[in-house]
Amino acid sequence: MIKIFKIVWQWLDDRLGISVLLSPMKHIAPQDSKWWYVFGSATLVAFIVQVASGVALAFSYISSSSQAYETLLFITNNAPFGRFLRGLHYYGASAMVLMIGAHMAQTFLFGAYKFPREMTWTTGILLLAFTLGMGFTGQLLRWDSTAAWSVVVAAEQAGRIPIIGDWVARFILGGNTIGGATLSRFFAIHVFVLPGIMFAFIGLHLWLVLRHGISEPPVAGKPVDPATYRAEYEELLKKSGKPFWPDLAWRDVIVVTGLIIAIAVAAFFVGPPALDKPPDPSILAADPRPDWYLLWYFALLALIPAKIEGYVMIGFPILIGLLLLFVPIWNHKGERAASRRPWAIAVVCLSVIMIGGLWWEGQQSPWSPNFEAQPLSEKVVGATSGPVFKGGQLFHDKGCLNCHLIQGLGGRRGPDLTYIADTLTRDNMVIRIVNGGTNMPAFGPSLKPGELDDLVAFLETRKRPLRPQDRSPIAENQIFQ
């Protein structure tokens, strides 16, 4: 039996060249390439998970604006393993973004983008852009209310591009508004166009890894000199190189196994993101926001001054993209060790802090009004009748509570007014309410006679309670009188 198997294998191997095809797996790599070098493999495997789970989902998903939502409900609630597969696809995407980020940070900190691997880095940056494009288009294929409104947001953002913005926006919408042509357009981009380009670039990226070799871990005081680097690298491989498979690849396999288990566990126990309401653009109670990997950019657009927003919206991604693409062009030689490149550590740390901080702000979205704010209770208002009670009701009815907090209730868009009477006088309150202020509407025209007095009466009771030690005997006497 084994003999027959061997004969069949030898015949197939001779005719198909399988061994030759797999021989790059045994390329010689520096033996010190250890745990820091696993992120590229992990990214590739996450991509394979995406392709496999995506193909499976496509067996049931219908890319029609009218039916996609129903097929997603079917996949999630009825199809065997459907919920798990949707989860796999979602967490696989998250894993791919995380791994590509880690791979990029490691390559940058190790100076592995320097000579002769400049184009390996550049193709990697393009793959990052395609991955984010896949993430965004993938979110839109989750064709619910959030997805439909996200298309509008994307079109509006594209509309800011000078000269061609309006055309690009119409291209994204598939016409003048969301409709039958919108979803199939993103389906084609997500399933055919971007994956096709990614396959080509992954092939090129891997070819470049083989062509220039896996970079050796950097050594402080041993800068890259393009004139001598290749000879030194060859010498290093001859002296201490090891075949990638299996001597070095086992670490990759361990990490990849952990990654797959983590994705599967999240998919099984946490499940895919819940579907929002149907993609009906006449449902206006929608709050579109991107998935976590683009939430930081969403937050950035909320926090920058409105005057420069249009420029940032278009210019920031272009600037970051160009910076990343051209890093190895102006910095292709010299020290590789992070210990001799403190600015490299600073760039990575600042990027992580910035993205993390903006992501956190995006999660909180303090700039968004709280539409769920409920009327304040009598206990919070501190009265059951009279001007203070009426003012407390008006505080909700006039929308003040959508943007301001009272004892932890309400919105966070404006200042917390729990103790506003400690800082503003009655006159200041009146001026602020009537005329508005920075980022606050003027309520003067919309308040009926008496409503302003009631509102101010309520706000004047918003004082920090006096502690016993703050109460002077005179004040105590006045209270009791």
Partner: protein
């Protein structure tokens, strides 16, 4: 054997002027034919994909109700069905506008799209404000910007009362090209 083939193919060939001319001709012919094939397949393909750029919106008036369906002074969300939608558009053929009956025969229709990034603004009846959930844009009842990042007032659609029906010009997503 392969090495010999490679060597012989890379060796300089002794070409006569006729051979050179013939070779150049076939080279140019092949490139031209490849270009032609690319154009035959590519032009319709690109045209098909970018067609939405050039699709002109028919100037259609859509009936959204009768005047008596709306109270004077009230602002309500009205669902509009896109009359030129594709048959498979489903619920995406719907859109909405904020409609206010100002007087007996006068109506204002505001776009529901925030001029900042297009998110759906909500009307707060008591506050008489439009508010956007995305980045906190706020508009007064006349659609002018009250607070937040919107660069311009809410767009308005043309509305008319014709043959006892309230009609508005077809709703499209207004694109704020501010740069």
């Amino acid at each position: 054997m392969n090495t010999n083939l490679t060597e012989s193919s890379s060796a300089p060939l002794a070409e006569t002027p006729e051979e050179i001319s013939r070779r150049r001709f076939f080279e140019k012919l092949s490139i031209a034919l490849v270009g032609l094939c690319t154009a035959i397949v590519g032009v319709p393909l690109v045209g098909f994909i970018v067609a939405p750029f050039f699709r002109k919106l028919p100037e259609k008036w859509v009936t959204i109700g009768k005047p008596d369906d709306f109270q004077i002074g009230k602002t309500v969300a009205v669902t509009v069905i896109d009359p030129s939608s594709l048959p498979w558009a489903g619920v995406t053929a719907k859109s909405a506008v904020w409609l206010r009956r100002v007087s007996q025969d006068s109506f204002i229709a505001f776009s529901v799209n925030c001029t900042h990034l297009g998110c759906p603004v909500r009307w707060l009846e008591g506050a008489e404000l439009f508010m956007c959930p995305c980045h906190g844009g706020v508009y007064y009842d006349d659609g002018t910007v009250a607070a937040g990042p919107p660069p311009r007032p809410l767009f308005r659609y043309d509305v008319r009362v014709e043959n006892g029906e309230v009609q508005m010009r077809q709703a499209i997503v207004p694109i704020s090209t501010t740069l």
